[in-house]
């Protein structure tokens, strides 16, 4: 079964990004497919590669980047939410005249159309948020 996931809460806030990660891991282990995870609202902050949590603590960004690398999950960040919060890829940084970008491996910036498409193409849509 194809399961799409939406995350709308930032990392290290309550638990949404952690719960979602454990859910996705369990879904893949059970033989389901998670083709895409969409990061919306404060959830886009998961995608910054500049976060440096203590070494003995979970690294939420690296967990997701690792999942994308291992399973090919498409990690999509909402562009409008990302721009407001200073989350940029190389293209956006150039386009906006900024001196750096901060998006982590495995994530890409795109639009809400990707959320709608995920809702249409997946059998289930599961939301994690605040």
């Amino acid at each position: 079964m194809k399961i799409g996931v939406l995350i709308s809460e930032g990392p290290y806030t309550h638990q949404a990004a952690d719960t979602a990660f454990k859910f996705v891991t369990a879904a893949i282990a059970a033989g389901h497919e998670v083709p895409r995870v969409f990061f919306y609202h404060d959830g886009v902050n998961v995608a910054t590669r500049l976060s440096v949590p203590p070494q003995d603590e979970r690294n939420i960004q690296q967990n997701w980047s690792g999942l994308a690398k291992e399973h090919g999950t498409d990690l999509v960040v909402c562009i409008a939410a990302a721009q407001r919060r200073g989350l940029l890829d190389e293209n956006e940084a150039n386009r906006q005249g900024k001196d750096a970008n901060n998006i982590a491996d495995g994530f890409r910036i795109s639009g809400l159309g990707q959320l709608i498409e995920m809702g249409i193409q997946c059998d289930r849509l599961v939301t994690f948020g605040d």
Binding site: A16, T25, R124
Partner: protein
């Protein structure tokens, strides 16, 4: 069409569990996750409201979030069942859709 309802906030913090219980249809499932697991505790002011629904609706709590809060599964309301993440995934697959009460 059965729906899986997820509730992730303590019923002592906001109304989302009560709203959820007021909207569920017979045959639906409710899964309490994160701080929502406090809604599964027996002996609270809200236990009767949860227990009253636990017959027509299947009510679950996420085991890992229970343990993270030091709650033994023995303290759950009768009819409320603890499940792991594998159970969460099965509930999503078995029901027709998932509604998060955020």
């Amino acid at each position: 069409m059965a729906t899986l309802h997820t509730v992730n906030k303590s019923p002592f913090a906001n109304q989302s569990l009560l709203s959820c219980l007021n909207h569920v249809k017979d045959g639906d499932s409710v899964l309490m996750i994160e701080d929502g697991v406090y809604g599964g505790l027996a002996g609270s002011g809200l236990s009767d409201a949860v227990a009253a629904k636990a017959g027509s609706v299947q009510v679950f709590v996420l085991q890992e979030d229970l343990e993270a809060r030091g709650i033994d599964a023995g303290r759950l309301i009768d009819g409320v069942t603890a499940v792991g993440y594998d159970g969460f995934v099965n509930l999503v697959a078995e029901t027709d859709r998932t509604q998060a009460w955020l």
